[in-house]
């Protein structure tokens, strides 16, 4: 059975070019970049080349990129740096739909005595801009607002937000883990102060990420120790993965424009077919401001885990906001923040595509999905509709 991988917001396939580039650093070139001898020291250059590639991809200066171990570390570093370097400011602004890497850190700060504002979103998942304007004040140490949502793909107006916050002198961090590699980002024209990106969401390996810190931003390191990353992130560099991240950024930069169009075509094809073939389906999120690769659909009267495990039988990988898949008993905090009714939250399925998906794969899913939904609805005490896709 071949795998049809439509869960790319969770993690992505490593681009085949990436391990090739990494291999020497996992075998012969095992030195420590901090060493005085050439054998180790030469790796420093390679890391700087990777840094330049990452910087170029998002319109930054190489000196503004700090390599980290993952998106979560970058998020934690950014927010903690902001609060540590502004010890008199005791207010943090974020949103109700952030990734747990930001959300739970902010809750942690709230327990430590910080005042935290969790900005609401509307039913389309759009940020309440008025609430943002009202929330920030001179006590605000940082605002951390995601670029695009991992569950719905909804893109926040980061340009507008960053300009407003800049005018007010509020430090602004954005978790762009889902946006980087899917939509163009140019930090030359986008006045955010800090930005998080993650390797494994853009076809690099897991265990590497980066934090962009705009030149001139006050910074306080999160991991304390050696002088690596110019004293901003201690710990011996994950050389091979950093090289891999550099390569992945180079590839993404080269193909971004055509990929965005390709992904949007495939995602729209999948979404419109499922909306047509399955009754009682709704789209979650603002389809006009959305990542080109993400479709979040709610199949009413059926439960998400059951859908996923049926799809699993066909080798189709997706994810769900249902309670049963979360490990907790609470369904998706994002969909609930949007006010999606519980009946629809439990049956929500996220398809997230990548450049490696094909039209044929999408058509296979379009063929199989109505049957899966129909079978589960026939088992359910609620939904009994069995309309299938009309033959074309």
């Amino acid at each position: 059975m071949t795998t049809i991988y439509l869960d790319n917001n969770a993690t992505t396939r490593i681009a085949p070019e990436v391990p090739n580039e990494m291999l020497p650093y996992l075998t012969d070139l095992y030195g420590n970049p901090s060493s005085m001898h050439t054998f180790g020291g030469q790796l420093y250059r390679r890391i700087e080349e990777a840094r330049a590639k990452v910087a170029s991809f998002i319109g930054a200066e190489p000196g503004e990129i700090i390599f980290t171990s993952c998106g979560t570390e970058s998020d934690n570093t950014a927010i903690m740096s902001a609060v540590e370097s502004h010890p008199h400011k005791k207010h943090v602004v974020t949103t109700r739909v952030e990734h747990p890497a930001v959300l739970n850190l902010c809750r942690h700060l709230a327990r430590k005595g910080y005042r935290v504002t969790f900005l609401p979103v509307n039913s389309l998942g759009q940020l309440d801009m008025d609430a943002l304007l009202k929330a920030v004040d001179e006590d605000t140490a940082v605002a951390s607002i995601m670029y695009a949502n991992n569950e719905t793909g909804v893109i926040f107006p980061i340009k507008e937000i960053s300009e407003i916050l800049k005018k007010r002198g509020i430090l602004f961090h954005t978790d762009a883990v889902q946006a980087v590699g899917k939509i163009p980002i140019d930090l030359k024209t986008l006045p955010v102060d800090m930005l998080t990106l993650s390797g494994h969401k853009i076809h690099a390996p897991k265990g590497v990420g980066a934090l962009y810190v705009r030149k001139g931003t006050r910074f306080y390191p999160y991991i304390i120790g050696g002088h690596q990353e110019r004293g901003r992130r201690a710990g011996t560099e994950n050389v091979a993965s950093i090289i891999g991240l550099g390569k992945a950024c180079e590839l993404a930069e080269k193909h971004l424009r055509e990929e965005t169009t390709y992904l949007k075509t495939l995602t729209d094809r999948l979404e419109s077919a499922l909306l047509k073939c399955c009754p009682d389906v709704r789209v979650n999120g603002d389809i006009n401001n959305r990542l080109p690769n993400t479709a979040n659909l709610s199949f009413e009267y059926v439960e998400g885990e059951a859908i996923l495990l049926r799809l699993n039988e066909y080798g189709i990988c997706a994810s769900s906001g249902s309670a049963c898949t979360s490990g907790s008993l609470e369904p998706s905090h994002v969909l609930r923040a949007m006010g999606v009714p519980y009946t629809a939250v439990h049956g929500s399925i996220r398809f997230s595509l990548s450049r490696y998906n094909t039209e044929k794969e999408i058509d296979t899913v379009i063929d199989l999905m109505p049957g899966v939904i129909r079978a589960l609805r026939e088992m359910s005490p609620y939904g009994r509709q069995t309309i299938a896709c009309p033959p074309e």
């Binding site: 439960e303 495990l309 519980y342 009946t343 359910s380 005490p381 609620y382």
Partner: protein, 277 residues
Amino acid sequence: MWEYTEKVKDFFLKPKNVGEIQNPDAVGEVGSIICGDALKLYLKVDKETGKILDAKFQTFGCASAIASSSALTELVKGKTLDEALEISNQDIAEFLGGLPEEKMHCSVMGREALEAAIANYRGEAPRLHEEGNVICKCFDVTEEKIRKVAIENHLTTVDEITNFTKAGGGCGECKPNIEAILRDIWSLKPPEIPQKPKRLTNLHKIALIQEIIEGEIRPGLQADNGDVELIDIDGNKVFLALRGMCTGCLMSDVTIKGIQDKLRELVGEDIVVEAYQ
């Protein structure tokens, strides 16, 4: 990813007894679409014998909810209503080769649907929530249910209660209340440790007999200027030699009998004490 057994997967992918029964004799409905799982159980019952002739289900829920519902219908078919009521949520889980801890509430839902259906058949009023004792507002779980499930499944921690009933799995506000209920249950009635028949190894038996003779028997005899010495132990036979004033005492048989009674009480019924000649 949940670690489901092959049987759970099988009963989820190819569930048995899905659907409605036309003109059912009993219907049991539990859960709700808001909570994320719901089960409707239909029974056909033989009026003469009280036997369950047929059982079908409709379930909204995850794989383990569907598998548990299907397992329930398989378990009840052919049983009388009274026999069916003996089926516990553990039986449902065991039928499926076990459920992940976090999914035990699926088996509890099955058991509840069965109770509801049988109450429905017997014309008992559906049990309403007693006034004001909903503990978990997120999942609408009553104190009564928490107590029942805790006792039936020997649950002692809040996490276990959440796994089995969902209570506390939402906002978490009720967790202190659940903890108080658990403290209440298990301090009033400590968990019954099933009395395992003591199976002593020879070593343990010998040590125990020595201990009793040294600690309980010799001091009594010594008080009367007598004494006893443990000579040997062979299986259940204990050979003792009476010493001091006991030697040649007319009551020695009574003394030996008394020691035997004591050892039978504390070590085992089969102990035979003999005087060593």
